[in-house]
């Protein structure tokens, strides 16, 4: 067994360094002396994992957008646009895609971006990402083309979502890395942060839990088109971006109002009135797709293995109750039964009437009676340490109690939940019946990226593990559907079956506005926070 991986390497000199001398080595930090070209931002969390392919953490994705670039990117109309790619051709039989990279692309270490780098990067992404895995199932081979700036993808059979896959906007994003890094096993972090994106990683100043620093990549050649979401020209107008960790919302509020930070990604909704009233602060929702909050039953454990019990649980819930408790301000949420998120081409309300109309209690009670529910306590995991996740379990649990369920609401921290939800154990052995989580809209906006409509069961399915082969058939059909109309039909059918099988339920769509000082301008709309285009 090899234990000399990146995780356990022993840095030279550590032994000799006393804690005190390390402390006195000094570190640049947080706020203070104003530098007009430094943008200081407080993000929604702390950047801990630097490899955006290894993990789906949104902070790692955001970090990826800073230092890496993508072949394609979605614009604000959800249309893929070339980013690193100059042009591409598709053979008449639809099996060979040849991409030509645009001129001037270079990694931060000076090496030019080649087709070999792209092939290695896409292969590594394809091992980890759900949509990437589907793409890889169609790919026969990938390689550098006739010239260094060409990338060729050979398919086994035609696949209509090649470009859509490469333009995937949220975790995991198919970022392009140097081949020497992309060849790292996808279960280990890449050892360096070298990309070809608009910012360079300042490794010396990185302190997990404190600060992450990016410097403008002076050599970056942006596209000429205007920026739109992650597409278009990534023009950097500041010298440096600092992501400052502030665990306390009140402190972040004060720091923004005092001008010590410029940008606050996700202020809590109860502080928004204060920010709205401040003429020196702009508050705006940048992500039109918002967030989807969901309830996910475990189909393996009785009585949730009975579809009627799952249906009863979902029917008991009223989205408005959940969103009133979670968000409060009706301007910041929307009743939305669409599994693939409202305001997208695949949005449909089929099967979701009780959720959005809040009239399912009688149905829930009759389903429970019909199923002969015996009062077995339903174990709902309740993460109490995450502000955006601790409310929903309480509301859902009460709704289920009102319907006749006995609920065991088990308080725990989020990381305990993350560990526990992977367990397929019985309740007696520490298993679970239900949990709630939130997704960025762009992570659930089609049947391929939406993990919850995966019907592969205990072997290959997502936590909860519904075994619904029909869902898999329809997802495969969706992947090869040639027109948007057909995709919409298939998405609606998938949603109907997912509701019929009660594999999961969206229990609301909500929006998290971003606040920034009026001293900055050009903040882009996007499902992920972007820092190019901003002037200060």
């Amino acid at each position: 067994m090899n234990h000399t991986t990146h995780f356990e390497r022993k840095p030279a000199g550590i032994l000799r360094a006393s804690l005190f001398s390390a402390a006195l080595a000094g570190f640049a930090l947080v706020a203070g002396a104003a530098d007009a070209q430094t943008l200081r931002a407080v993000k929604h969390s702390d950047l801990r994992v630097l490899d955006p392919i290894l993990t789906t953490a949104y902070m790692s994705r955001n970090h990826g957008y800073m230092i890496f670039d993508t072949l394609y990117a979605l614009d604000s109309d959800l249309v893929p646009q070339p980013q690193m790619v100059d042009s591409h051709t598709v053979s008449d039989d639809g099996l060979v895609y040849t991409f030509t990279l645009r001129d001037g692309l270079a990694f931060h270490d000076g090496a030019p971006v080649t087709g070999a780098d792209v092939a290695a990067s896409i292969a590594r992404w394809g091992e980890r990402d759900g949509m990437g895995q589907v793409l890889m199932s169609f790919v026969d081979s990938m390689s550098q083309g006739a010239s260094a700036n060409e990338f060729v993808m050979n398919l086994k059979e035609p696949y209509g979502l090649v470009i859509d896959s490469l333009a995937k906007p949220s975790s995991n994003v198919p970022f392009i890395m140097p081949a020497r890094l992309a060849e790292t096993p996808s279960t280990e972090p890449v050892p360096e942060q070298i990309g070809s994106g608009p910012f360079k990683w300042v490794a010396d100043e990185y302190q997990p839990g404190v600060i992450a620093v990016y410097a403008k990549n002076e050599e970056y050649v942006p596209r000429s088109e205007p920026a739109s979401w992650a597409a278009g020209g990534k023009v950097v107008n500041v010298d440096r971006v600092e992501w400052v960790v502030m665990p306390d919302d009140q402190t972040a509020l004060n720091a923004l109002q005092a001008g010590e930070i410029d940008y606050w990604e996700s202020p809590p909704s109860d502080l928004l009135p204060i920010l709205d009233a401040n003429p020196d602060v702009t508050v705006k929702n940048l992500n039109a797709l918002g967030m989807q909050t969901i309830m996910r039953p475990n189909t393996l454990n009785a009585p949730m293995d009975d579809v009627r019990i799952r249906q009863a649980a979902i029917a008991s819930v009223n989205q408005k109750d959940v969103l009133d408790a979670l968000v409060g301000n009706p301007e910041l949420y929307s009743l939305c039964g669409a599994m693939f998120v409202c305001n997208t081409p695949l949005a449909t309300d089929v099967g979701s009437e009780t959720l959005t109309q809040g009239n399912g209690m009688d149905k829930a009670k009759s389903l429970l009676e019909e199923a002969g529910y015996d009062g077995t306590p339903i174990v709902i995991m309740h993460p109490t340490d995450v502000g955006t996740l601790r409310t929903q379990p309480v509301v859902v649990a009460q709704a289920m109690r009102d319907a006749g369920f006995v609920v065991d609401l088990q308080a725990m921290d989020w990381q305990t939940l993350v560990g526990k939800r992977a367990s397929q154990a019985s309740i007696a052995d520490g298993g679970w019946h239900m949990f709630m989580t939130n997704w960025v809209g762009a992570d659930v906006f089609n049947p391929l990226v939406n993990n919850m409509v995966n019907g592969k069961g205990p072997d290959g399915g997502w936590f909860g593990w519904p075994d619904v082969p029909k869902l898999e058939e329809l997802r495969t059909s969706y992947a090869t559907a040639p027109t948007l109309e057909q995709q919409q039909e298939l998405a609606a059918e998938i949603q109907k079956i997912a509701f019929d099988e009660a594999v999961y339920a969206p229990i609301g769509q909500y929006f998290v506005p971003t606040a920034w000082s009026t001293s900055i301008d050009g903040v882009l709309d996007s499902p992920a926070p972007l820092f190019w285009n901003i002037t200060k």
């Binding site: 356990e8 706020a31 994992v49 975790s171 997502w462």
Partner: protein, 314 residues
């Protein structure tokens, strides 16, 4: 004395060993899987298994323990599971804010609280005494975060005398350092003034009734000399104990104060590591905190001898 110190240091070794074993086992028994945290939402069971394997989490628990102890004996505290940074580096980065806050708080607290306690005891039952006791009750009763927010509201947002948050190393300029450490220091100082002043007053009251104090006064010594040289010195043992433990408490983490003022100290490092199940970091900081308590207790014991000649260690 030297023999006593050696004996205490030797006695600390099994204590640290027990702490190491306890922390290690406790973490492994706590629910949560660092591999699952690292892998994110879409990892397959095979990928999770591969990550666990690369982290050594699949090894028997005692294999993991002895590997960690082996690393420790070589001075290697391991590497953070999530960030990949050496743990010693993470701790080193957090030491300066924590030590700075501890020193400024203790220095300011002792400077204010000991005279306050002496005066309160000397003037027992007067308005001064009642004021000191009121201050003490307030310091104990008002949560630190409330004091912190009030400080920020008044001195940062209204008067704009101090920045809201952040830390600047002393190496970047004494003025900037003091400017940023001031508010968190004032906040914690209120608590420590309450604690130290109360202990000082109580100890002084016991001593002031003793025969030797009456004798000193009868000799015609000035009251200040009676108070400071005869009374205070003889009641310094409990005061030193409280100061020492208070210092250790700050060093081992004042996470609320650190969060309110956004100080990147050891307290936040510990909490963040616990929440993310970053085992090597948690193990190292708890071990470090234990070591700090052991060392400070030893220093306190040595101080007893210097302050009170009646105390002898053999």
């Amino acid at each position: 004395m030297f023999g006593y110190i050696v004996q205490r240091i030797l006695a600390a070794i099994p204590v640290m060993g027990f702490v190491a074993l306890f922390v290690f086992l406790l973490l492994r028994l706590t629910p949560g899987d660092p591999a699952a945290i690292l892998a994110g939402d879409t990892a397959t069971p095979e990928q999770l298994e591969a990550i666990r394997e690369s982290l050594g989490l699949n090894d028997p628990i005692f294999t993991q323990f002895f590997r960690w102890v082996g690393q420790l004996l070589q001075g290697d505290f391991g590497t953070s599971i999530l960030s990949g940074k050496p743990v010693i580096e993470l701790i080193g980065d957090r030491m300066e804010p924590t030590i700075s806050l501890a020193l400024t708080t203790i220095i300011l607290s002792v400077t204010i609280a000991v005279p306050l306690g002496v005066v309160a005891a000397w003037k027992q039952g007067t308005l001064i005494d009642r004021f000191v006791m009121l201050l003490s009750v307030l310091g104990f009763s008002v949560p630190v975060f409330v004091i912190g927010y009030l400080m920020i509201s008044l001195f940062s947002m209204e008067l704009k005398w101090f920045p809201v948050q952040g830390f600047r190393p002393i190496g970047e300029g004494l003025g900037d350092f003091l400017h940023r450490i001031a508010l968190p220091t004032f906040t914690l100082t209120l608590l420590y003034i309450a604690l130290i002043a109360r202990i000082t007053r109580t100890s002084m009251l016991e001593i002031l009734g003793d025969d030797y104090v009456r004798t000193a006064r009868a000799k015609g010594l000035p009251e200040s000399r009676v108070l400071m040289r005869h009374a205070l010195r003889n009641c310094s043992v409990p005061i030193i104990t409280v100061i020492g433990i208070g210092f250790a408490l700050i060093i081992s983490g004042v996470v609320v104060t650190e969060s309110v003022f956004n100080l990147p100290g050891l307290g936040r490092l510990t909490v963040d590591a616990v929440l993310s199940r970053d085992y090597p970091v948690i193990q190292a900081v708890i071990l470090l905190a234990s070591l700090i308590y052991v060392v400070i207790n030893l220093l306190i014991d040595i101080a007893y001898v210097l302050l009170d000649p009646r105390i002898r260690y053999t």
